[in-house]
């Protein structure tokens, strides 16, 4: 067992990282440090395991055995409680410049346990230019034992100046079999594992959720009803409202509990016990407003992510339709919807299927440029209707 067990179907990457961890260990002993780099950029499609790879590598750097997966160092590093591993996850729409300054400061500290001061930045693509530049100095002239592990979907998502200072690790989309095997190891039965691995299109986290969570499976089925609902213009508007509503609901479930917990914690910290006529400390209202602003940003992002997942499922559905139309010998993503796929394949042309895939992708792009989600999805549904 090693810390890299959670990386599914990424054997080549694991070799690179293990070699680097060995080089790092020799550098800690005072021997040559050739083979180790102070800044790494993990890229790959969503769900391929960027952050898993980064955390596993962080653990391998801290572990005296190079990532045994069993010692205290490995457990704490993977679990996020190692004193020398800082994991930064931008919770809102962006990583704030103040957070970046914090990162620069903490990365310069000497490692408490004497090995490496590792900073993992998940979703480094959520940095704006100014934030990126704040970080750049630390990447350019790293502290002696500082290691930065950035994660982003693709190298193009980062400033060229940052990109050029990082060693690139590219993760591939894990093969269905590898994902299914992993799910079976986790205790999922074989047929469900096969179904989830395909439906998630190589997104490991999503495959796990689809295999384990009935609610997630139900949501996916609801989303994939949309192609049959857009037969009338009225149906388009209704389907769009349902899709956006479901995304909002999913986001509320995900963030709602957290919001309440945070607000309660803040109120406790401010000593606001909610009694009438009790004076609140100075600045309390501002702190609460600030928290609410960050929570709103997070809710927006969660809702967008949920909607984006739905759109990816839709695009995959039309991809299956297209495959059936042109008679391509490829595996279907949506094995469970075989009949619907074939029916639509027979009643439409490959040209219109391509236009429909284009409409779904255009909708993702529109939402990314801040178009009102409901309006963007309505426009997409109407384009799907027209074919």
């Amino acid at each position: 067992m090693t810390v890299f067990d959670g990386l599914i179907g990424q054997d080549r990457v694991v070799d690179v990282l293990q070699a680097a961890a060995a080089a790092a260990a020799s550098s800690v002993r005072g021997d040559s440090s050739a083979g180790m780099t102070h800044a790494w950029l993990f890229t790959g499609p969503p769900g391929s395991g960027r952050s898993v790879a980064a955390r596993a590598f962080a653990a391998a750097l801290q572990c005296p055995q190079g990532g045994c997966g069993e010692c205290h160092e490995c457990h704490t590093a993977m679990g996020g409680s190692h004193p020398d591993v800082t994991v930064v996850v931008p919770a809102g729409l962006h990583l704030l410049i103040a957070e970046a300054r914090e990162i620069v400061a903490s990365s310069a500290r000497a490692p408490m346990l004497g090995r490496w001061q590792v900073t993992v930045i998940e979703d480094a693509d959520r940095m704006e230019e100014r934030t990126g530049n704040t970080l750049l100095k630390a990447l350019e002239e790293p502290p002696p034992r500082g290691v930065f592990l950035l994660c982003a979907p693709s190298p193009e998502d980062l400033l060229p100046t940052i990109r050029s200072r990082c060693r690139l690790v590219t993760l591939r989309i894990p093969p269905y079999d590898a994902v299914a095997d992993y799910l079976v190891r986790e205790g999922v039965d074989r047929p469900t594992a096969e179904f989830a691995a395909r439906a998630a299109q190589g997104h490991v986290g999503r495959a796990r959720r689809l295999a384990r969570d009935d609610e997630a499976r139900r949501r996916r089925r609801d989303v994939l009803k949309l192609p049959t609902q857009v037969e009338t213009v009225g149906g388009c508007f209704a389907a769009a409202a349902a899709l956006v509503g479901a995304a909002r609901e999913e986001a509320t479930v995900l963030t709602g509990e957290l919001d309440v917990a945070e607000s309660t914690a803040l109120r406790d910290a401010l000593g606001d016990v909610g009694g009438r006529g009790k004076a609140r400390p100075r600045g309390a209202a501002a702190a609460v407003a600030d928290l609410e602003r960050r929570q709103k940003s997070r809710a927006t992002r969660t809702q967008r992510d949920a909607l984006d997942r739905a759109l990816i499922d839709l695009a995959a559905f039309y991809r299956d339709v297209l495959a059936a139309q042109v008679g391509a010998q490829v595996d279907l993503v949506n094995v469970d919807l075989d009949r619907t796929v074939r029916a639509l394949a027979e009643s439409s042309t490959p040209e219109s299927t391509l236009r429909r895939i284009g409409a779904v992708l255009a909708c993702r792009e529109a939402i990314d440029t801040n178009v009102a989600p409901l309006l963007a999805v309505e426009a997409m549904a109407l384009s799907l209707h027209a074919g």
Binding site: T232, V233, F237, A366, T369, V371, A372, L374, L375, L382
Partner: protein, 308 residues
């Protein structure tokens, strides 16, 4: 002491000037301060009887924000018969204790009315015209409010002006002659004209909207909302607005209006319009240089779809 209660800024100002005039003071003899800028000592100084009788009138605004000490000082001042003090209070629950305390001392209380609904505004216009020594026709009141907008200061000026220029009895024609074209305009108004298919009126309303500082984002969102309503009402089938209201989850007046619009729309035009609005929304939010142009373009396309 005079206590003025209400939060309609213009009317409060007017009540303050009336009260100051009532104390026989002119501009130079008035010390007008916000509650945060005045100290307890200052109040004591300005309200104590003076040998020479030249203390200015003290106006303290927004006493709902007064602290304990200040409230006590004002309370004391209210008890001095010859003190010339005017205080304003926004009304409502905040600082209610201060207000009650002042009332209890027997200070003169002037309540300023709240102007909220269009009806309030029309009543205000009628009162203003009467105060200026004129009369106004019923339909002219509505026209004037629609043309000048909701700002009371501007409405009051317009009333005074109309009586001065058009003589004691003001008609709808007088209002039209003095206020042609100028209208307060919103994204909703633009979208309503557009889905009615009136290109010229929609564009005119849009320009007015931009001139009064309406954000283009509100134009595209209102257009989208109207198209959405039309689609919902059209696919709900026939039926009286009241019976459809519960099922569609919108008020009956909205349904009645949308049923009128829906007659102009067909599925294919609706589709074209929504696509145009969605594209414009992206352009307005930064995908293109000129947000105003993108909004204008969407309005034209929607209006054209309505008559297509």
């Amino acid at each position: 002491m005079t206590v003025i209660v209400g939060d309609e800024e213009f009317l409060v100002d007017r009540a303050v000037s009336d009260a100051v005039r009532g104390y026989g003071a002119s501009g130079a003899d008035v010390r007008d301060v916000a509650c945060a800028d005045v100290s307890v000592e200052e109040i004591a100084e300005l309200t104590s009887p003076s040998l020479f009788g030249d203390t200015p009138v003290l106006v303290v605004r927004g006493v709902q924000d007064a602290g304990k000490d200040l409230a006590a000082a004002l309370q004391e001042a209210a008890g001095i018969p010859e003190a010339r003090v005017v205080v304003t209070h926004a009304g409502g629950a905040k600082g209610k204790a201060v207000l009650d305390g002042l009332k209890a001392t027997g200070a003169r209380v002037v309540e300023v009315p709240r102007i909220r609904s269009p009806r309030d505004r029309e009543q205000f216009v009628a009162d203003e015209i009467r105060a200026a020594g004129g009369t106004i026709a019923r339909d002219a009141v509505g026209d004037l409010v629609a043309a000048v907008g909701g700002d009371l200061r501007e409405l009051a000026t317009a009333c005074f002006q109309l009586v001065a220029d058009a003589g004691p009895s003001v008609t709808a024609d007088d209002v039209a002659a003095h206020h042609r074209g100028r209208a307060e305009s919103t994204g909703y108004a633009v979208a309503d004209r557009a889905v009615e298919g009136d290109v010229a009126a929609a564009l005119e309303t849009l320009r007015w909207a931009f001139a009064t500082g309406v954000d283009p984002v509100l134009v595209s969102s209102s257009l989208a909302a109207n198209l959405r309503t039309i689609a919902a009402v059209a696919s709900a089938g026939r039926g009286s607005p009241d019976s459809l209201a519960a099922g569609l989850g919108m008020p009956a007046w909205k349904i009645r209006r949308a049923q009128g619009w829906a007659r102009r729309w067909r599925p294919d035009t609706l589709r074209r319009a929504v696509l145009a609005v969605a594209e414009a929304d992206a352009h307005i939010k930064g995908a293109a240089d000129d947000a105003a142009f993108a909004a204008e373009r969407a309005v034209v396309v929607v209006a054209e779809c309505a008559v297509a």
